[in-house]
């Protein structure tokens, strides 16, 4: 699946997007964040306040308990500040 990052999450991770292949035991968004955090300092910094991070699966807002099975694109970003 493709992970995409926006705003300061993108800056801290150091990438706009990347292909990721989490193991089967990573079932939901919250577990995916924990898996990413274990990959390196940049992820740990981006997700240091995991509760503040918003997520979208295939361009729809989801909560951290949303299952990731079948997702093509998972986005991580800070709370939105448009308008």
């Amino acid at each position: 699946m493709k992970a995409v990052y926006f705003a300061w999450v993108r800056e801290r991770v150091g990438a706009t997007d990347e292909e990721i292949a989490p193991p089967a035991e990573v079932r939901n968004v919250g577990e995916l964040i924990a898996w990413l955090v274990a990959r390196g300092e940049n992820y740990a910094y981006a997700f240091e306040n995991a509760k503040a991070i918003r997520a979208a699966i295939d361009r729809k807002h989801v909560k951290h308990d949303a299952p990731i099975a079948g997702a093509r694109e998972i986005a991580f970003f800070p709370p939105m500040t448009g308008g």
Binding site: A7, A56, R59, H61, P78
Partner: protein
Amino acid sequence: MRVQAAPFDAAAEAAALTAGRTDVGAVVTFVGLCRDEGGTLAALELEHYPGMAEEEISRVMAQALERWPLTGATAIHRHGKIAPGEPIVLVVTVSAHRAAAFAAAEFLMDYLKTRAPFWKKEHRRDGTSGDWVAAKAEDDAAAGRWDRAT
């Protein structure tokens, strides 16, 4: 509904919603502008999630059209670098009576601020790199009141 880098013409967008109609009694036009924050801000840079931004604004507009008797609605949100005084966002709602047009316009703005995937970064006039604008709790509260009102 459009997401674009270019400026927009609010009057032309409003006129397009009423052209040829005789059943419209109320047009509400809201334009959100970039502030200079007391002269400290050189520009705002708006990052967005292409694809989802359009889809989320469309979803919010569909909810407004379902909830109020509107004869039309338009929303335009800009992205990219925007200077103080320039428009960022436009919402136009059109209805037979003003109550629906006012309420729907406010609903659309409250929901766009909390659900449309846009993020503002500040560019300061003193040349220092600005911060990402932090989300405000009052924006969530403003959007939340529409849940209770149903």
